[in-house]
């Protein structure tokens, strides 16, 4: 039976890693800019599809680099041309415009890549299973866990230990004061938004060898990412990490131990958080 628990723990960690990649950017643009970017799921989907195409041309590893770069560029362009304008107009236009972008992206993906779900094989190096505590676990899933952990650590250190991170925290806390001491908040926010888009794209391309890519993933990814953001607290990287772990553990262990309730379990937790701590579990520690 220990094998079963090891397997499920790894499954939960792997799911948490993917959730974190999608949620980090969403949470930060939510918290730092007050921007409700529902198009974030679309960037995740584009990351997956671009990753598949690049992988067919150059292989998996180049795709792992190029696809996030491409989604980061798309994110930056969207921010510069469209989203920055609606950002100032309050949540309703933000929701409508960014959700409109989801529909456009979904249709675009269907036109370019078709309706049939696509897959990507993990690179040869990670295609086998690894023996762990008497069980075989797919090496690729271990790689996803490692990547998620590395990125979470990197982002946390970047925000808490660097000058850029300090500027970012200042700009979030009090934009006017930050501007007056020479921090270029607009540019900073553009950078954060671009990074978030790149992370979503990375999440997309990393997810495809595990789950297949379909045009519905823009929405299916968005919902758990929003839940993670609300549970963890907006604008907080540690919140995104904690939220991703909580949601993943509930879903994975709920699916295994209490399958009848697994579909609603996460919503119960969401409701509890909203009632007891509406700002999210870790929102007090802004940005960190």
């Amino acid at each position: 039976m220990t094998a079963f628990w090891v397997l499920q723990t790894l499954n939960a960690l792997q799911y948490a890693a993917l959730l974190f990649l999608i949620s980090a950017g969403l949470s930060v643009s939510f918290g730092l800019m007050g921007f409700v970017n529902l198009a974030h799921g679309a960037l995740y989907m584009l990351g997956a599809y671009i990753g598949i195409s690049v992988s067919h041309m150059f292989g998996f590893w180049p795709a792992l680099v190029l696809s996030p770069l491409a989604t980061a560029c798309i994110g930056a362009m969207l921010h510069l041309t469209l989203l920055r304008r609606v950002a100032k107009q309050g949540p309703m236009p933000q929701v409508l415009v960014s959700f409109g972008l989801v529909f456009i992206a979904v249709e675009l993906v269907r036109i370019l890549w078709g309706d049939i779900p696509l897959t990507l094989d993990p690179p040869a190096l990670l295609s086998s299973g690894v023996a762990l505590a008497g069980i075989s676990y797919p090496a690729y899933r271990l790689f996803v866990i490692a990547m998620g952990a590395a990125l979470a650590t990197g982002l946390y250190l970047g925000i808490t230990r660097t000058m850029l991170g300090a500027a970012l925290r200042a700009a979030t806390e009090n934009p006017a004061a930050a501007r007056s001491i020479g921090i270029r908040t607009e540019r900073l926010f553009l950078g954060v938004f671009t990074l978030g888009a790149g992370l979503a794209g990375l999440g997309g391309v990393m997810a495809v060898p595990v789950v297949s890519a379909s045009s519905s993933m823009a929405v299916t990814a968005l919902i758990p990412a929003l839940i993670v953001t609300v549970i963890g607290g907006m604008g907080s990287v540690t919140g995104a990490i904690a939220g991703a772990l909580i949601v993943a553990v509930i879903e994975v262990f709920g699916a295994a131990l209490w399958p009848d309730a697994s579909a609603v379990l996460v919503y119960l937790v969401l409701a509890a958080v909203l009632i007891l701590r509406p700002q999210g579990l870790l929102a007090g520690t802004r940005a960190a």
């Binding site: 039976m1 309706d115 779900p117 299973g129 899933r141 519905s216």
Partner: protein, 415 residues
């Protein structure tokens, strides 16, 4: 096609007859008679226009969401049947049901009331089928079901206006349960998405498997449309100690499931059996070698070696970059053949078409096909097959054929 003559409805045929009869004998010039004939022809053509009233077909198919690709295949197959018959008196309207019962209901109402469709074709999702059942029945509009396997639609909820040409969930899973028990497999863990089709498929399989002496070691239904990662469920199946795994998945789930099953190295421990949709041609290319050795049961395989199927697959492949038709293409095609058969028998309008549909029988790509008048469900062969690699290209090898599988009435009382 069985018959090219379109029956008494065709105004052009009538006009041609008039013209023929009244044209002067060759060599005899009579302008007056010719003129009269022409007028008569024009007149009869005008008069008979209402009789040539085009048949309006409403396609009720998903064009977006998880099942969009299935909808496209069914439409392709349906249009293939019309094109083959050279019919241009059939108007085809298309409505997107997505995979949502509510949307399906709205679209069905629109086709019936606003577009005055004579017949509806389609419905991919079983949940959509149960949603539109009453509307179709009450409006007395024939519906040719080209996919949704909801057993109740030709069981306790059957209707003289619902004819199914695809399959029922019972029809595919019952033979598989019997067959698997007969193979000596003693215990099975089952997995399927948590909605009507998943529950019916697993229910029918389990009943037949247990009747044959097998034991169900565990049953799990995964949240439909939400589960993309089957890792947690595969780990649970593995821990159950069952001898084999039996599943139903379709769409993107089918691809993910097979790849994940393979990546967890379960192939050696727990052989995978399924309703054949899991490794259907639509998904096989994406699944690749991960699908090797999966055993399934289905009513159609593109690799069936019959003259009808060889001709069919060739026509389809020529129009689709060499790809092979899926069971959805065939269901669309057979829905078209069924409708054309009914029209050719002289049926016209909703009631007559509904009455004529169950009388059509022929041998098509999937083998002999007839409609059971007791339930209006299709009677057909079920093929049990293994997914194998044929020189790097994945294909299906038939292990067994269960002939002319017919559903029990299951509470159907045809009104």
């Amino acid at each position: 096609m069985a018959s090219e003559a379109a029956g008494p409805r065709s105004g052009l045929t009538v006009a041609a007859l008039v013209l023929e009869r009244s044209s002067p004998p060759p060599g005899h010039s009579d302008h007056g008679a010719a003129m009269k004939a022409l007028l008569a022809a024009a007149f009869t053509t005008c008069l008979s226009l209402p009789a040539t009233a085009e048949t309006t077909v409403g396609l009720l198919l998903p064009a977006s969401g998880n099942y969009a690709a299935l909808g496209q295949d069914i439409e392709d197959g349906f249009r293939m049947a019309l094109a083959e018959a050279g019919r241009d008196d059939i108007t085809v309207l298309r409505e997107d049901t997505e995979a949502k019962p509510q949307t399906g209901l709205i679209r069905a109402r629109k086709l019936i009331m606003q577009d005055k469709a004579d017949v509806l074709v389609g419905v991919v999702s079983s949940a959509v089928l149960s949603a539109v059942r009453d509307v179709v029945h009450n409006a007395k509009t024939p519906l040719i079901v080209a996919n949704a396997g909801n057993s109740d639609a030709t069981g306790k909820d059957c209707s003289p206006y619902i004819t199914r040409v695809s399959f029922s969930n019972d029809q595919l899973n019952r033979p598989m349960g019997e067959w698997l028990a007969a193979q000596g497999v003693s215990s099975v863990y089952t997995l399927a998405p948590d909605y009507a089709a998943g529950q019916q498929m697993i229910g029918a399989f389990s009943a037949a498997f247990e009747e044959g002496g097998g034991e169900i070691a565990g049953v799990e239904f995964t949240p439909f449309g939400k589960t993309e990662d089957f890792g947690p469920y595969l780990a649970k199946a593995q821990a159950s100690g069952a001898e084999a795994l039996y599943v139903f998945y379709g769409g993107a789930d089918a691809i993910s499931f097979v790849k994940q099953y393979d990546s967890f190295g379960l192939r050696e421990q727990m052989p995978l059996y399924s309703v054949g949709f899991l490794t259907a041609p639509l998904y096989l290319r994406s699944q690749g070698e991960a699908a090797m050795g999966v055993i399934g049961a289905l009513h159609y395989l593109p690799s069936l070696d019959t003259p009808e199927n060889n001709a069919f697959t060739e026509t389809y492949a020529n129009a689709h970059d060499g790809n092979l038709p899926s069971e959805y293409v065939v269901a669309g095609y057979d829905a078209g053949r069924l409708l054309l058969g009914a029209l050719d028998s002289g049926a016209e309008g909703r009631a007559e078409i509904a009455a004529a549909l169950p009388k059509i029988a022929y041998t098509g790509p999937r083998g002999p096909l007839e409609i059971d008048p007791a339930t209006n469900n299709v009677v057909q062969n079920v093929y049990i097959f293994e997914t194998v690699s044929d020189g790097g290209r994945m294909t299906h090898r038939v292990l067994d054929t269960v002939r002319a599988v017919r559903d029990a009435p299951n509470g159907c009382e045809m009104g």
